[in-house]
């Protein structure tokens, strides 16, 4: 059987999602009988030329250079998969989309005139067609593995589509929102983490981004009834997936 040729690319991000490939400690060596990391800078010196069967893309697109690269990735890859919050919604660095990038440059850099960035940090889908999205900040390595195994079996990959709230119920947790009044994004957030935050005694902070048809305005209304301060409601939605269009609506209400 011909090995599946995989390329792993990184754009503006923390490396945490591509690290999940290397965190497949139990499976990585066995997996390499079936897949080849033809391009994976973090792991290999060797670089195999394209075209690739699948490109996993981490990070948001935030510089003119990254726009060029992501277009090339698309041309060279049969399937493009965006992995993680940055690549599916712009990530935490999209917070600058709400502010003045010029002022940001001056605040962080002594020579701001040397910094060349786009006005917005955006997911790759803004510039190229993306075939699949795997959510999370970071993506779960189990989802990555399951995705690859489905591809190897010739199946059209599917991913979990329940909310964190559903996963939380399944886990038998006491609801932090209902029982303790802790603001929680679980009802509007895509599952896949196994309801980690409520299981550790805190509200979900939405790192998997909006679920399908999330109705965040209903949750927003509930937060208001609980007398949570407007600014704090805004900050809750304005985190790792702040640039997703569903959460943006709520954030804008408080801008």
């Amino acid at each position: 059987m011909r090995k599946l040729r995989i390329a792993v690319y990184k754009f503006s991000s923390c490396d945490g999602c591509q690290l999940q490939f290397l965190n497949l400690e139990d499976e990585l060596l066995q997996l390499s009988d079936f897949i080849e990391f033809a391009l994976f800078y973090e792991a290999r010196r060797y670089v195999g030329s394209g075209p690739y069967d699948v490109a996993f893309v981490e990070g948001s697109i935030s510089t003119p250079h990254e726009v060029e690269v992501v277009k090339k990735v698309r041309e060279e890859s049969r399937v493009v998969v965006a992995i993680g919050a940055c690549a599916t919604s712009g990530g935490i660095q999209a917070l600058r989309n709400w502010a003045d990038t010029e002022e940001y440059k001056q605040y962080v850099y002594p020579r701001p005139e040397w910094i060349e960035v786009l006005k917005y940090a955006e997911p790759p889908s803004k510039y190229v067609k993306v075939d699949y999205e795997i959510r999370g900040c970071p993506v779960s390595k189990e989802q990555l593995l399951s995705f690859i195994l489905q591809l190897l079996k010739g199946k059209k990959p599917t991913l979990p589509a329940d909310s964190v709230c559903v996963e939380c119920k399944r886990r038998g947790n006491v609801c932090v929102l209902v029982a303790k009044g802790v603001p929680c994004l679980g009802p509007v957030t895509m599952g896949g983490c196994g309801a980690l935050c409520p299981s550790y005694g805190r509200g979900c902070y939405g790192c998997y981004g909006p679920m399908i048809d999330p109705k965040p305005e209903a949750l927003n209304a509930r937060f208001k009834e609980l007398n949570i301060k407007p600014k704090e409601i805004q900050l809750l939605f304005k985190q790792f997936t702040n640039w997703s269009k569903e959460f943006r609506k709520v954030i804008e209400e408080y801008e």
């Binding site: 490396d15 690290l19 290397l22 060596l29 792991a43 940001y104 040397w114 900040c137 970071p138 980690l196």
Partner: protein, 428 residues
């Protein structure tokens, strides 16, 4: 005779960087470790966030060492809030941090760095000839990740830590299962150390000042005084005012120098040299039986310091987990007030400095973060300068590889360093 060594995309490092070395008559005339990782402006968008959000946000600077970001930021903010965490909470922090050291160090030692010493392009190629070393090393890394997962929920960007401690009490019965594999883990760590101690290590002599925290009774992780191998000794608050930020003509990266002194090195090598007496005697015994000792001056020996810390971490975790008692309260609530606080903890790659100013309602007004890789950048270039002769005499492919290996000695995390570096493209 002149030659140019150029690597367009550095492999086996975290983040995006490149390298340019120019040699003239056997002497290096120009070294540029370039960074083309995009800036992400963390310090800028932290302004206006609530203090309690800072650990989770700064964790996203680095997926490999999120615990380090969580701990440095939490400690800096706790100083403002007047929080002193109780001993058992501090212990739990040490447990999860040591887990990160194991995960991050083994990733680097085994998967990114060791292949250089033996001439393999990646760990996957190395695994064909050293299957047992790689398999056991991967299990060791798995265990480190498992420690973080048990305490933090997941190993990348864990969710349980907060300013003041943890969101909930981590139960003793959650931690104890980690000890089930411990007898194996200890053997794997010891064997990896012995294997690394036998690696052929290139020679490099350079006068270096090693800077790290100094532990009082324990090998330093969460706190300590800032000391150096040349007699520096100051508090973490004094650190920033003793730094000079530099920009040079040939490199657009910012670099750090100590006032009245020079460039310096942070990281496992610095910690090891400044705290050798605090390493577990068992670890020192193994090192000394292989002819190494209390000081490692050559940056190619950083791999030894890294894996010595892994073995130490495993042994210390055995003690910390077995003696763990659940705290009565998972966290300490501080008094929100206006103030400034700075703290340093030892990230796997070296000292990570965070400073915050918050207002009376708990919103961040100013933030400053100095990651270890930024502090080491100047030294990476100094090492390449010192290697001049060797780089000039080797054939070009080998010279290029050696130059890359020199950079990887520092386990550079470009994702971390980037918000302090000018992006640059070297075009030819």
């Amino acid at each position: 005779m002149s030659r140019v060594i150029k690597v367009d995309y550095l492999a086996r490092v975290e983040g995006e960087g490149n390298l340019f070395v120019e040699l003239e008559d056997g002497r290096v005339t120009r070294v540029e470790v370039g960074i083309f990782e995009a800036p992400r402006f963390f310090e800028a968008f932290l302004r206006g966030r609530k203090y309690y959000e800072v650990p989770d946000i700064t964790a996203r600077i680095c997926g490999i060492c999120p615990i380090a970001y969580i701990m440095s930021s939490s400690r800096a903010l706790e100083k403002i809030l007047g929080v002193e965490v109780p001993e058992e909470v501090e212990k739990l922090r040490r447990i999860v941090y040591l887990g990160e050291w194991i995960e991050s160090h083994v990733l680097h030692v085994l998967m990114l760095h060791a292949p250089d010493f033996l001439g393999y392009e990646s760990v996957l190629s190395m695994a064909r000839d050293y299957p047992e070393v790689v398999k056991k090393g991967m299990k060791l890394k798995w265990w480190g990740n498992q420690v973080i997962k048990v305490v933090g929920g997941r190993s990348v960007h864990p969710v349980s830590c907060r300013v003041g401690g943890f969101y909930r009490v981590i139960k003793r019965e959650e931690l104890l299962p980690l000890l089930r594999e411990l007898s194996y883990v200890k053997v794997w760590a010891r064997e990896l150390l012995e294997w690394v101690l036998k690696l052929p290590i290139p020679d490099l002599k350079r006068d270096v000042e090693f800077v790290s925290l100094r532990g009082e009774k324990e090998y330093p992780i969460l706190k300590g005084r800032v000391v150096s191998s040349k007699g520096l000794n100051m508090s973490e608050e004094e650190f920033e005012e003793n730094l000079i930020v530099e920009q040079t003509k040939y490199s657009t990266s910012l670099r750090y120098r100590l006032k009245g002194r020079s460039y310096y090195v942070v990281g496992p090598l610095a910690r090891y040299n400044n705290n050798y007496d605090l390493l577990d005697p068992e670890v020192r015994g193994v090192i000394e039986s292989h002819g190494y000792g209390a000081t490692l001056h050559n940056s190619f020996q950083s791999i030894i310091a890294r894996v010595a810390e892994v073995y130490h971490a495993v042994l210390e975790l055995e003690e910390l987990i077995s003696s763990y008692r659940e705290p009565h309260q998972p966290y300490v609530e501080g008094a929100v007030r206006r103030g400034v606080g700075a703290a340093i903890t030892e990230a796997p790659r070296g000292m990570l400095y965070h400073k915050y100013e918050i207002n009376e309602r708990g919103y961040v007004i100013n933030a400053n973060i100095i990651p270890p890789t930024s502090q080491n950048l100047a030294s990476i270039e100094q090492d390449l300068l010192a290697l001049g002769n060797k780089l000039a005499t080797l054939n070009l492919a080998d010279a290029q590889w050696l130059a890359e290996q020199t950079i990887r000695n520092y386990d550079p995390c470009i994702s971390c360093a980037t918000h302090f570096l000018k992006i640059r493209y070297i075009k030819h």
